[in-house]
């Protein structure tokens, strides 16, 4: 039986001529695992919200939505709360209470369940999700990944039939995201709950799901198994970035035979093909653009800890960033990357070691001159940069920078910064950071939550800024993004740098902490870490 049936569903927001959704027909069967993909603003969130009566927004709706055969609007409030689960993007703000156990019990308390029943459901759920070790902790003490698992668990206690997730892993690092997907997959297989998830992480998600729905401009472009969709696309399709690396290589190379999805299948595919051309990324072919003799930033034996009796967060960190290069610092959440950034910007002071900016120690920059024409830093949550009610006021004094950008920000001028999409926010914040005319720009997780197109645009923009003489330090856990724009990469681990090489050496030298293309071609092709390069080297079928 179908859990959701959408029939000729259209929706438009008040005061908007454009339809957010147009004639959408989707049937979701019991127990399906569906990935919803598409660019920002394609109507994904609108669609997901229409499936959860509590979150329906004002606007013109036509067509019907049936839940288990009945119109979704007829569902009594308590049933709708219990039977349709919803998890949103932000791990932090979805949490309501101060204790993990209370958060787990919250839904059932609202539904007026008895003590005994709550105790049983909470115990069951905590055991399933592996929450027991932190059951009595404060919710503010959890990591981002734990918070999002808690949000999922807190929804699952009422045993919903359908689970709706709107970009749940956008704020998580790759390892936390993988754990989240694993749990979701296990839930789907073991309890049969229907899952509809919108997500930009194709690489990890698509191999798990039964079906992929690709939305654009409010209409369904593709609705099929991921493999079948990939087989129907060609090289010129604008939706290629929504597929996995293996599928993209397959399409680039002509698309004969069965399409691979995962890295494992990709390796099999490469082995079955002939290798034609030589080596596009030979390490000596392009010298890194950074000037080796001029250090923009130098950190020498830097030690830092937050408390006198605490453990060292930075443990003898040595790092040199050359002038004019894009330098990526990669590593998992909680390894000390952001602390390192705070030291680079002078917000935190190391207890031992030297930090030099353009040959001068940080403390020699007096009266805030450090932050004028020298250094600027964009934090992870760019909201903390915004001061005003409109983008126009926000960008006052930045006209020159705005005009030099390859995109037009004018249509955004009258909107509130919080109403922008992730990519647009990042751009506006970047303009603000460039206002002080810095020589060194530090970006903390700039690609977080962006769709593939926005990432590509950001990467191009960083390249352009670099060509105008700016040195950029990129702090990120997004390997693919770093591979697309950095000149050198460093792996941050245990309070120091474990490896630091040019991007091609780094990506090809790492075994698992590297791009999907590199993992697929390791031992088959030499020095390949991008999909384009891999596809260019592939010939016909070997047999």
């Amino acid at each position: 039986m179908a859990v959701f049936e959408l029939c000729e569903l259209s929706f438009s927001y008040p005061n908007s001529a454009k339809k957010a959704l147009e004639k959408v027909n989707i049937t979701v069967d019991q127990g399906e695992f569906i990935a919803l993909a598409g660019p920002t603003g394609s109507g994904k969130s609108t669609l997901l919200r229409l499936l959860k009566p509590e979150l329906m927004q004002n606007g013109d709706q036509s067509g019907t939505i049936l839940f288990c055969g009945n119109p979704i609007g007829d569902l009594p409030p308590r049933e709708s709360a219990a039977r349709i689960g919803y998890v949103a993007q932000s791990p932090e703000e979805q949490i309501v209470t101060d204790k993990v156990w209370h958060e787990l019990a919250f839904t059932l308390e609202n539904l007026g369940k008895k003590q005994q029943e709550i105790a049983r459901r909470v115990a069951e759920t905590a055991a399933f999700f592996g929450i027991a070790p932190w059951y009595r902790k404060h919710t503010s003490q959890l990591s981002g990944g734990q918070k999002q698992l808690l949000n999922l668990a807190a929804v699952m206690v009422s045993e919903p039939e359908a689970l709706i997730l709107d970009e749940p892993t956008a704020q998580l690092d790759p390892i936390e995201a993988a754990r989240f997907f694993d749990t979701l997959y296990k839930l789907n297989r073991e309890t049969g709950v229907t899952v509809i998830i919108s997500e930009h992480r194709a690489e990890e998600l698509l191999p798990l799901c039964d079906r992929m729905i690709l939305l654009d401009h409010g209409t369904v472009v593709y609705d099929d198994a991921p493999r079948a969709i990939a087989q129907r696309m060609d090289k010129s399709s604008p939706y290629l970035p929504y597929l996995t690396a293996a599928s993209r290589v397959f399409i680039h190379s002509g698309g004969a035979g069965e399409c691979p999805l995962s890295v494992r299948e990709g390796r099999k595919f490469f082995k079955s093909r002939e290798i034609v051309s030589g080596n596009p990324h030979s390490p000596s072919a392009t010298a890194p653009p950074g000037k080796e003799d001029c250090a923009a930033l130098e950190m020498k034996d830097v030690f830092f800890r937050y408390h006198k009796d605490g453990a060292d967060v930075l443990n003898g960190l040595n790092m040199t960033v050359n002038e004019g290069e894009i330098f990526a610092v990669l590593g998992a959440n909680g390894c000390g990357k952001s602390t390192a950034a705070a030291i680079m910007t002078g917000v935190l002071k190391p207890y031992s070691g030297k930090v030099k900016l353009f040959g001068k120690a940080l403390k020699e920059y007096k009266n805030g001159s450090l932050y004028r024409e020298n250094l600027s830093c964009l934090p992870q949550d760019v909201e903390s940069v915004f001061l005003h009610a409109t983008v126009r006021e926000e960008l006052r004094g930045c006209e020159e920078i705005v005009n030099s950008l390859p995109f037009d920000l004018a249509p955004l001028y009258d909107r509130h910064p919080y109403d922008l999409s992730g990519g647009e926010r990042q751009l506006v914040a970047l303009c603000k950071a460039l206002k002080s005319n810095p020589r060194l720009l530090i970006l903390d997780e700039p690609s977080k939550g962006l769709d593939p197109n926005a990432k590509e645009r950001l990467s191009e923009l960083l390249r352009k800024l670099q060509s105008s003489g700016l040195t950029i330090i990129l702090i990120s856990h997004d390997i693919e993004f770093a591979a697309s724009c950095a000149d050198r990469c460093a792996l941050f681990f245990d309070g120091g740098i474990a490896a630091c090489e040019s991007t091609s050496d780094f990506m090809c030298g790492n075994r698992c902490y590297t791009t999907a293309a590199s993992r697929m071609t390791r031992g088959i092709l030499r020095n390949v870490y991008t999909v384009d390069a891999a596809a260019a080297m592939i010939g016909g079928d070997r047999s």
């Binding site: 979150l55 703000e93 156990w101 003590q115 919710t139 917000v347 903390s384």
Partner: protein, 289 residues
């Protein structure tokens, strides 16, 4: 080992309230002696806070005991004259008793705050009303969230060069800006929290309140013992009286008052009795294994 403070919060709270109340509403030197002695021993055994709080109490005790005879010159037994003013034995004894009462009450309240952590208080309020309990729980969560957020915003503003610490006016302007961003952020993100509550059925009808603590037989037993001891103390101490001025006359040692002292004595060392009993039991258990 289930110590006294691991009993149900209702029991623990009731115990400390009884002990504090009896101490505070009496000026009976015997009761205050027992109370002071027992509360200090309880505190040393439970809080293990070092010497500092005791030094503070001692200073407080000495000052309070000294002040009364200096300003109150009633009483027949003159000890000596200070600046032509009589210092009397009655006023001195009264001062010591009053100081002892204050310090003992202070110790009991310290024990109360130490024992009643936020989740135990929440549980108590939750018994009164599930709504209050939820509001408190959300308030605790939000203060923590705002604190972290304040930090992030001011760091971000600093690293963008927008936050100038150069002089007082600029620093204040910087603070105001951080506060304004914080408020916008809180309002914007409050919507997400509200939606998360809606999506999980908040406001769909009567709420229940889930509790981690259970009220067991032994919690009831200890609460009953505590209530009985308090009742005996109150009834027994009713007749015990002290007339301080002009000379001290007491009816402190009638048979019924002695019963009251025993009642209060049991009440004030109840945690020690329970913990000792548990410690002995534990010892036998570990011998048996």
């Amino acid at each position: 080992m289930r110590e006294f403070h691991e009993y149900n919060p209702i029991t623990v709270a009731a115990y400390y309230l009884c002990a504090t109340a009896v101490t505070m509403f009496t000026m009976n030197p015997v009761v205050i002696g027992i109370s002071l002695f027992a509360s200090v021993i309880n505190y040393i055994l439970y809080a293990k806070n070092g010497i500092k709080p005791h030094l503070f109490s001692l200073v407080l005790f000495v000052i309070m005991a000294a002040v009364n005879p200096l300003i109150n010159h009633n009483g027949m037994t003159v000890l000596f004259y200070l600046n032509d003013r009589p210092i009397t034995a009655e006023a001195a004894i009264y001062g010591v008793t009053a100081a002892g009462m204050t310090v003992a009450a202070l110790y009991w309240l310290r024990l109360f705050t130490k024992a009643m952590t936020s989740d135990k208080l929440l549980y108590l309020f939750g018994r009164l009303s599930p709504k209050i309990s939820l509001i408190l729980s959300m308030a605790i969560r939000y203060t923590e969230l705002l604190r972290i957020r304040w930090r992030k915003i001011s760091d971000a503003q600093k690293a963008l060069g927008l936050y100038d610490d150069g002089n007082l006016i600029d620093a204040l302007k910087g603070r105001a800006r951080v506060l304004s961003i914080l408020i916008t952020w809180a309002l914007e993100n409050g919507i997400i929290t509200a939606e998360s509550m809606d999506a999980r059925g908040y406001g769909t009808g009567r709420r229940t309140s889930f509790r981690l603590f259970r009220f067991r037989m032994r919690d009831g037993l200890i609460t009953a013992i505590c209530a009985a001891a308090t009742a005996i103390a109150v009834i027994g101490l009713n007749g015990a009286d002290v007339v301080w001025y002009p000379s001290i006359k007491t009816t402190l040692f009638e048979p019924v008052s002695i019963m009251g002292y025993v009642g209060f004595g049991v009440l004030s060392i109840l945690p020690i009795i329970i913990n000792t009993k548990e410690a002995i039991r534990w010892r036998y258990l570990s011998c048996a294994n």
